[in-house]
Symmetry: C2
Subunit: 340 residues, 2 copies
Amino acid sequence: MEWREDRLFLLDQTLLPRKVKMAACSSVEDVTDAIRTMVVRGAPAIGIAAAFGIVLGAKASTARNRNELLKDVLDASERIGSARPTAVNLFWALERMKNVLLQNETDNVSLLKDLLLKEAHTILSEDRETCRRIGLHGSALIKEGDGILTHCNAGGLATSGYGTALAAIFAAGEQGKNIKVYVDETRPLLQGSRLTAWELKAAGIDTTIICDNMAGLVLKEGKVNLVITGADRIAGNGDAANKIGTYSLALLAEAHEVPFYVAAPRSTFDMKLQCGDQIPIEQRDPDEVAVFQGKRIVPEGVDVYNPAFDVTPHRLIRGIITEKGVVTPPYEANLAKLFD
Amino acid sequence: MEWREDRLFLLDQTLLPRKVKMAACSSVEDVTDAIRTMVVRGAPAIGIAAAFGIVLGAKASTARNRNELLKDVLDASERIGSARPTAVNLFWALERMKNVLLQNETDNVSLLKDLLLKEAHTILSEDRETCRRIGLHGSALIKEGDGILTHCNAGGLATSGYGTALAAIFAAGEQGKNIKVYVDETRPLLQGSRLTAWELKAAGIDTTIICDNMAGLVLKEGKVNLVITGADRIAGNGDAANKIGTYSLALLAEAHEVPFYVAAPRSTFDMKLQCGDQIPIEQRDPDEVAVFQGKRIVPEGVDVYNPAFDVTPHRLIRGIITEKGVVTPPYEANLAKLFD
């Protein structure tokens, strides 16, 4: 993800790994579409893209004072926020951008636009540092020779560039630990086989793709010492929404007494929510399941259910790896401390 | 599946649902290839195809007496048996064909060939009756309004034409029960979305496809009252090998206190085996996972693990639906009675 020549450049994740192509966004509409169609995806990355989307909205604004600019920014926020409902980083970033205007009492619109751009860059660089710290804390959980199972993509592509769940794995690799990573392919959009495998291979980490339904067998065979995934929104009690299939995986890990960890920055927590039931779950186009690379695989006239996320209850989560350290149960008390 | 003009005609299941095309087998080699490449699949269907494969082997034989014919039949058996190691029906059917020769002490080769053809037809028609009975016993477990979850294809396509797990569902439908069936798409070869959905739709049953990793959520949402799958080989203690993902599904059902049933004819039991650990698990080509409809979805150089089956331990199985009724725990004792 890169800001240059007044445009946001995104690595188009829908084309990976077969094509490495940058998509340029020059308007709020472009950014909204990129988030909706998953050109950019992953909770932190969506937040950063949203922030630059606000910059683009402000840039196009003809506002003559702060109030007019605020109105245009709120309008852009609403459009960008509509793209995907589950990942809270999106709304967190939009809130931070709005606060730039609320906290700077000037009608110098040009200055305000500069401050918005500065805030977007800050969000981006903070995410880099956050991911490094998550990697550091997470890697301490990984021992020499461990087998690790992950789901979807919580890597560099899902963030500013180092990842959350994968940050822990990258850091363990950098520390010279020999590890073996199993990756759920992650139907329907195959972020595991397309994106995570691509990132891990580039990092020189021993990687094996499995179909999602093989996780139980791989756990039973003793190949996995810990499971780490990312998250899209975490409630105040530790319940964590993440890519569909994460809940199944957490149950399978529990059945085999393998610890299940979630890695996420503090921006992924929605402390207003008491529990995971309150997290909105995005339903996506049935054709993501029914059609593959242009070919229909489900007979016409058969229904398809395609929830994009599920919620893993906190009782299944051994710890949540944040930039401030690993939070363990009891979550309500310990998460409250995290946000003190 | 049909025998006509001295050839075995199989509905090519690799092309469904996009193309309905019969494949004709006129040699042992044709049948072996059809089993290996999954033109025909499903434990009972493989058994029937194998029996007709022996007929084709006998037909091509130039044997002048029973011993010579037996030698040719055993040779054909070995070739066909090498195609897929897990489903025991294959070996059960080959054994039955061999026994035709062992039990008829004549050197009238032409008569023996006729008897072999007759035995293959008997296996086919017995399977029809067996499936009907499985459907009858299984449907008694299904109540009005039930949600049912199944995995892979244990339908007409996997048998002589009515199925095992799906037989129970078809029969419940024929009895006028309103039911709703959720079907795991079943990666990597998508037998759920391609085959099971196609069969259920043709039977007018309310069908919804889910990705395999959605099963946990669907169970949590209370949409499923029972899970029914088929089996490829069942050990003497009730441990059941079935399509990869069945074990995960059984664990998820247990976690939600939803009963998990296996439907299988007696020919799927391998009473020589004390437990499921002894069942050989076929490993298939990694490209089944890595390549989809000619396009690579896993980056080159990344490993893929592709076991075709897993074993569900008997403790997770509420009952095994056979043509003789539903066998419940304790399995060792009750299965011994089944084979009395």
